[in-house]
């Protein structure tokens, strides 16, 4: 393991971690915004409960997205300083814009959404979750613009005096065809992730709690539509990307197929055995004709694809001796995994549509099948997202800035290229090993906690009933307490009335008690409300839910008798 390998592992691990959480946020934020909008317009409290339920999942996940993302902003300079020097002039701009436009928007308005419930008017509160939803998608655009420059550098020229790429055309950078294809593809993949998630969770709850199937049906339909539409979008945008890749990065295209020699109309291989990194040893077992030609150029025949061996020879001629072939095993299988793993979402969508059409609910054995399908499908889109990015990033190896094929022979731009080993910081390996271990261990621990929390929230289910008179529900800006006065007389007044002050409970999420309240120590903040929270994670047979709805012990002023609400 030399410094290049350690740094590559570190960047790969941290980025894949980050992108476990990112797609769910990008897709789920607009869905939660839509749920809340449905409630705000129709005042149908089912949508309110759904938006609170999935909003809590969104918040748990958002924290992880922020925590893993913060490392990325610094990592370029920490581990890839030579790369940062070379392209910072171009690469830094989208990163700065992302912070300025998107990150501020999403984090400020998320705070407003969590804590503004019952404090700002409903329309403004709904607008703030929309701002979050728009913000996360804008941030995806800018970071993909930055990544697309690495895949297909445009809008810059090389300055031989400084040895740096310099931005000359920001419009070209922001409308890089690679970015305009990759951004919708990533967003569609994110919506597929969130749609599958909402569909799976809502479907699973419908089986688990039949009495309240009507509550979850809306979310199920929303998840189903999102899944179906986004899988179509994924396919179309993926096809566009493949055609670009055929022109811009032929080596990546050849590696995706483990295609050794230039061929006209090679068949698309579905299964290959053999050690892929020794080209000649690979045996294609199953092949389909026509597909690959269409993927590359939109025609079914007459397309010539260049092979890995020939491209390697070409590149050596152009860029000097070296190994310009990516890891064929990884590219071949990640490409297939990315496409194949969509099956999970599609199967779930088909099953869900079949079992719940015309307001039906599956019975008996069908219910079991549906139940299993709902949960089993959840990991698939996450894995597909990871596979797709691993293919994209490892397919351009050994380049960190892949040469633009149009630049060949153009003295102004042909030097805008960089291999990974030229871009790395010359650290003592021990430093990078320390940070590699540190990030990996901390992230792994947090990922376990993240899974535990999401599982908890899902098992707890949506809030059981809603009190329409509660300030959380009937938001009005007037019921605010006292404004700050710059004297403690005002503060003393507030304190005097604190016992009677209206509660401002209700962040954007629901805190869950772990034990029934009758077994819990009453803590200080609970005493003056007298509200007991109870939350049980149990089999649905434990107690029929109808009874829970008319629970006499529930505190009438607490809109969530099954959940204890608190704020941080």
């Amino acid at each position: 393991m030399d410094i290049v390998d350690i740094s590559r592992w570190q960047f790969g691990i941290t980025t894949v971690y980050h992108f476990i959480f990112v797609p769910l946020t990008i897709g789920l934020a607009p869905m939660v915004a839509l749920m809340q909008t449905m409630w705000a317009i129709k005042r149908d409290e089912r949508w309110y409960r759904m938006s609170r339920f999935f909003g809590t999942v969104l918040l748990v996940n958002f924290a992880m997205g922020v925590a893993t993302g913060i490392v990325q902003e610094f990592q370029f300079g920490m581990n890839w300083s030579e790369y940062s020097r070379m392209v910072g002039d171009v690469f830094g701009a989208p990163l700065a814009l992302e912070g300025l436009i998107a990150f501020f928007m999403e984090s400020v308005f998320l705070g407003l959404w969590i804590f503004g419930r019952g404090r700002i008017p409903v329309w403004l509160h709904t607008l703030s979750i929309w701002m979050v939803a728009i913000g996360v998608n804008i941030s995806a655009y800018f970071i993909i613009v930055a990544n697309s420059f690495m895949q297909h550098p445009v809008g810059a020229i090389y300055n031989p005096d400084t040895g740096r790429a310099e931005l000359v055309d920001v419009v070209a950078l922001l409308t890089n065809p690679t970015a305009l294809a990759a951004f919708p593809h990533a967003v569609a993949g994110s919506f597929l992730t969130a749609g599958t998630f909402v569909l799976g969770i809502a479907g699973w709850w419908m089986i688990r709690d039949r009495a309240k199937a009507a509550l979850h049906r809306g979310a199920l339909k929303m998840g189903l539509w999102t899944t179906v539409l986004s899988s179509i979008a994924v396919a179309i945008t993926g096809d566009i990307q493949a055609k670009l890749m055929f022109i811009q990065q032929p080596m990546k295209m050849a590696s995706a197929e483990s295609l050794c020699h230039t061929e006209t109309d090679p068949w698309f291989s579905v299964l290959t055995i053999g050690t892929h990194n020794d080209c000649e040893a690979a045996k294609h077992l199953i092949e389909v004709p026509g597909v690959l030609s269409f993927l590359a150029d939109g025609r079914f025949s007459g397309v010539t694809l260049q092979g890995v061996m020939d491209l390697q020879a070409q590149m050596e001629q152009l860029y000097g001796p070296g190994n310009y072939t990516p890891n064929l095993f990884v590219t071949y299988w990640s490409f297939r995994a990315m496409i194949g793993l969509m099956v999970g979402s599609l199967a779930l969508a088909a099953i869900a549509w079949f079992f719940t059409r015309k307001n039906r609910l599956p019975e008996g054995r069908n219910a079991q099948i549906f139940n299993v399908a709902c949960l089993a499908a959840l990991p698939f889109p996450f894995l597909a997202n990871s596979a797709g990015w691993i293919f994209t990033e490892m397919g351009r190896q050994p380049w960190v800035v892949h040469p633009n094929p149009n630049s060949v022979g153009d003295p102004r731009t042909e030097m805008i290229r960089m291999t990974v080993d030229m871009g790395v910081t010359d650290h003592a390996p021990v430093n990078v090993i320390i940070s590699l271990i540190g990030f990996t261990v901390v992230y792994a621990a947090l990922a376990v906690v993240w899974f535990y929390l999401i599982r908890r929230v899902v098992l707890a289910g949506p809030p059981v009933e809603v009190d329409a008179d509660h300030p959380d529900y009937q938001a009005s800006a007037e019921e605010a307490l006292e404004p700050v006065r710059f004297s403690h007389n005002g503060a003393a007044e507030i304190e005097a009335r604190a016992g009677t002050a209206a509660s401002t409970a209700g962040g954007g999420s629901v805190a869950l008690a772990t034990k029934p309240s009758e077994h819990r120590e009453p803590s200080e903040h609970r005493e003056h409300r007298g509200g007991g929270g109870r939350h049980r994670v149990k089999e649905p047979t434990d107690r029929p839910s109808a009874e829970r709805l008319t629970d006499p012990t529930a505190n009438p002023t607490n809109p969530f008798p099954n959940n204890t609400e608190k704020e941080s």
Binding site: L59, V66, A67, I70, V71, F74, F76, G77, M78, S81, S84, R85, G88, D89, F91, G92, A93, A96, E98, G99, L100, F104, S107, V108, G111, L112, G116, R119, R164, L167, T425, A428, I434, S435, V442, L446, V457, L481, P483, V484, F486, S487, H488, G490, A491, A492, I494, A498, A501, S503, G507, S509, L512, S523, E524, H525, G533, T564, E565, K566
Partner: protein
């Protein structure tokens, strides 16, 4: 552009972003450090975290944007500094990570055990960044030793003093913020800690500011040093007299003044052997970035300021209800 020296403009803008970060996250870190000292009961701790709850995430973006702006405007500086301060930055990032999840997840499970772990994350994540940022900034002023990627060359007397001073000033800043944002028992408890915190902030902050001024300052940075001193003093006296608004405004001015002093003392060398003009991007990039900043920054300041207005009410330990 307008006949301006754009690298210099961006040096000032980077200083502005870091000043915003230290001003806003300064009291967040202060509240986190004070958590075990002021928040003796769960209700008090919840209320304390409520004071920063809606805003801390937006405050942290100032750092991310500062990082991005540094990358765009001064790639050489960004690359040298971030690889040069390797392990300190790694520790800062770990601190930020555990603090983020501690703050966000604290309310998600209603047990004392869970909250205790989240509080640990918040406390560790509130100590590490200010101490290490202080060390890093002090070394930037002083001139960075070789092997700065390791931690120990940075822990020279001046660097250590910078870390302690910045942390002490942040704790005072967090305390005046808490006094401003709370009422009743919680505010009294915060007031009881005022004297020791003020003494530490005065001694450490004063020593650092004087050392920076005499060793590395320029003539004009005397203004910043003076402002920092006046801000600290007014902040402390205002807080002792119960003038919360004045006290918080004064400590805010002190934090900004210290940042200005640091960047002023650094000017024009941003890294050993590199002045800010050598580190800057091309004219075109700086122009584009300047227009973006002119168009977007006021909007950000406007809506971020507005959220502070929305959550302007004082919080008591009773506010945070079950």
């Amino acid at each position: 552009m307008f006949g301006l020296d754009l690298p210099l403009v961006w040096f000032i803008l980077i200083a502005f972003l870091f000043a915003g970060y230290f001003l806003l996250e300064g009291f967040d870190f202060g509240v986190g450090i004070l958590l075990p000292f002021v928040g003796r009961t769960e209700a008090k701790r919840s209320a304390m975290l409520r004071t920063i709850g809606p805003v801390w995430d937006g405050n942290e973006v100032w750092l991310i944007t500062a990082g991005g702006a540094l990358f765009a405007a001064f790639p050489e500086w960004y690359a040298s500094m971030f690889s040069g301060f390797y392990l300190p930055l790694f520790l800062i990032l770990l601190g930020l990570i555990v603090r983020i999840v501690g703050l966000e997840w604290r309310t998600k499970v209603d047990t004392d055990y869970w909250r205790a772990w989240c509080d640990r994350g918040i406390i560790v994540g509130s100590w590490l960044p200010p101490v290490l940022w202080g060390v890093a900034v002090a070394n930037l002023i002083r001139g960075v030793p070789d092997n700065a990627g390791l931690v120990y060359p940075l822990l020279n007397p001046f660097g250590l003093l910078g870390g302690l001073a910045l942390t002490a000033v942040f704790v005072l800043h967090g305390l005046t913020f808490l006094r401003l944002k709370t009422a009743g028992e919680l505010r009294e408890r915060a007031g009881a800690l005022l004297t020791p915190v003020a003494a530490l902030a005065l001694i450490l902050g004063g020593a650092f500011a004087v050392a920076a001024q005499f060793l590395y300052g320029k003539d004009w940075t005397w203004v910043a040093t003076g402002l920092a001193a006046v801000g600290l003093l007014i902040g402390i006296f205002g807080a002792l007299r119960g003038r919360d608004g004045i006290a918080f405004s004064a400590t805010s001015i002190a934090v900004i003044a210290v940042t200005v002093l640091a960047f002023g003392a650094m000017f024009p060398m941003v890294w050993p052997g590199m002045d800010l003009w050598a580190a800057a991007s091309s004219e075109y990039t700086l122009k584009f970035m300047t227009w973006s900043a002119i168009l977007i920054t006021p909007l950000v300041l406007l809506y971020q300021g507005w959220t502070y207005w929305v959550f302007r009410k004082r919080i008591t330990a009773h506010t945070v209800s079950a």
